[in-house]
């Protein structure tokens, strides 16, 4: 795991310095020149969002609960201006993308698998799921600066999950084994009566997606920002067959930014 983080860091630094170490002669002067007009920002924010299918399937009927999670995000970005308005951003963020939702579903196809045992069927009832993922995220974005106050950002991000969890339970409903004519398995509400699951081992460790964002600086040093990070790689490994839909992490972050360079 540490190796992954290290390699991501090295990639970022290498790509930054790739511009610096232009052909020809060596380093220091070029490096200094390169960084002369680079801007540096620190960020501290709060994320809200969820891990959800693209387009809500008709089987998901109702969101009963959406519990806010301690989704802090902090990190640093460097922006290298390329022209009067355009620039390139690279950064490293450490953030938690967690969610806790409770939803009512109808005829929702699921395939529960644990240690080689599987139970497949269609579930009608309630589902409570809780996801946590602490990630190192590296955004690489194009920046368009309207003026000193406003800029917008757009580009891909890559995440490495350092610790994660996805567990929950199906309750207050029933599963029909295999299909809607199969054996009925009624589930209650207490710990012993419901169907518990834990898909921690099926979470994809390296994820990527697209991000858009906007910064507004009300002074030279201080500003606020809003980002939307839309996962384009499935939250679970492709071998994960429990759910028919692929789930994507989609999170919006708002926070404060500080310009340190």
């Amino acid at each position: 795991m540490k190796r992954y983080i290290a390699s991501i860091l090295i990639t970022v630094i290498a790509s930054m310095s790739a511009w610096a170490i232009m052909p020809n002669d060596g380093g220091c002067q070029n490096l200094q020149n390169f960084f002369r007009n680079v801007e540096g920002y620190g960020r501290l924010g709060y994320s809200i969002g969820g891990t959800a299918p693209m387009g809500m399937p008709a089987e998901i009927r109702k969101l009963n609960k959406f519990i806010l999670q301690p989704n802090v995000a902090f990190g640093a970005d460097l922006i290298k201006p390329a022209s009067a308005h355009w620039g390139v951003l690279a950064g490293i963020h450490f953030e938690n993308k967690a969610m806790h939702i409770d939803a009512t579903v109808k005829n929702y196809h699921m395939r529960l698998t644990q240690d080689g045992q599987s139970l497949e069927g269609v579930f009608t009832g309630k589902n409570d799921s809780h996801a946590v993922q602490w990630t190192f995220t590296v955004p690489i974005q194009a920046v368009y600066k309207f003026n000193d106050k406003w800029k917008i950002k757009f580009g891909p991000y890559f995440s490495y999950i350092t610790s994660c969890n996805f567990d929950g339970f199906a309750y207050d409903g029933y599963l029909r084994v295999d299909d809607p004519t199969g054996a009925k398995v009624l589930l209650g509400t207490t710990d012993e009566e419901r169907g518990n699951y834990d898909f921690k081992d099926d979470i994809r460790k390296v994820q990527w997606g697209m991000g858009v964002g906007v910064d507004y600086f009300f002074t030279r040093k201080f500003g606020v920002y809003a980002d939307l990070n839309w996962g384009l790689s499935g939250f679970f490994k492709s071998s994960f067959k429990t759910l028919d839909q692929t789930l994507y992490p989609i999170y919006a972050t708002i926070g404060i930014a500080y310009r340190f360079k």
Partner: protein, 388 residues
Amino acid sequence: MRFFYHKISVLVAVMALASICTSCFKEEPLNAECDIEKAWVHVANPADLFYNESDTLINVISTEDKITFTMRDDADVTALAPLFTITEGATISPANGSVHDFSNGPVKYTVTSQDGKWSRTYTVECNRVAHYVTEVMNFDFEHFELDPTYHKYYIWHNTLPDGSLGDDWATGNRGYYLAQSSATADNYPTTVLENGYEGYGVNLTTRGTGPFGISSKKPIAAGNMFLGRFNGDIAMFKPLMATEFGIPFTQKPLSLSGYYQYSPSTPFTDKNFVQHPERIDAGDIYSVLYLNHDANGNPVVLYGDNVLSSEQIVAVARVQNVNETNGQWVYFDIPFEYRQDIDLELLANRGYNLTIVFSSSIEGASFEGAIGSTLKVDKVRLTCETKE
């Protein structure tokens, strides 16, 4: 400046739209199920057709596709109009409440789901039971087959007094299927014993229920077999309520005999799968006769939590200390101990239920026992009073 605000508001709108698109709910899908949930016969005088009024209504378990009304042997079944509660929106053919002649055998009904994609066919029959008098009822476990739905585990048939096969033996095997779908029939809690005391016997083994069972605090499944019905629909939800003990019984039982072997395993574990080395597993063999209606005339079924403690119990025969038998068959012959007087008229009118229960772990209903404990049973006899 207005230009920038305009740009920003467009961006915010796009972001908002994107998040709304993922959270909007589609129209509710139509129901896909097509069950008969309840079946009943409504007639002016139920006593003309049925022994008990409660026999007019049947709650159908999801895996059942045969609905049997138990009736008096002289009941007129040439023009009956059974009624059904079916899944909301589903349709039934022939029509709900239509009149049919059941004297020539069963009538088939097909239920089609609201979305039109699924259907199930049910067989509805009227079983007119004659009053047999048998001195000794034999239970030899020679008739078994793989379950017709999944072909995964064994089910057993008893031999009825007229020589036909009945469906009175139940096991918890269907519950085990949910937890351990990969198990083969011989690795279920209740299996066929190839070399019984005579011919085949029944082999009951306490099994581990794997990750699903542990996560719901049901880490073991004792091998069990009983006269009654296993309602697998609630095996996960209310396991003690899944064992519906007893079948209507019209004779006075005197004693229960048979042969068993028992081998306790270790370690003994509780429902949290914590080991208790000081405890040793034991088997259980008993029979209970009970009143199947309470004082107010409501039907009563005994379950896992009250089959040995209910006030409804009339008589019990229980083998004491089913312990290690070192691979030898042990004969038992236990008289019924009567706790109340028996009403012979009520008995003839199917007012009593009888169950016989075998379990490889005596505390199996509380999910306590040792994985691997084995009870083998064969040649069980129920001796009844024959004088009128």
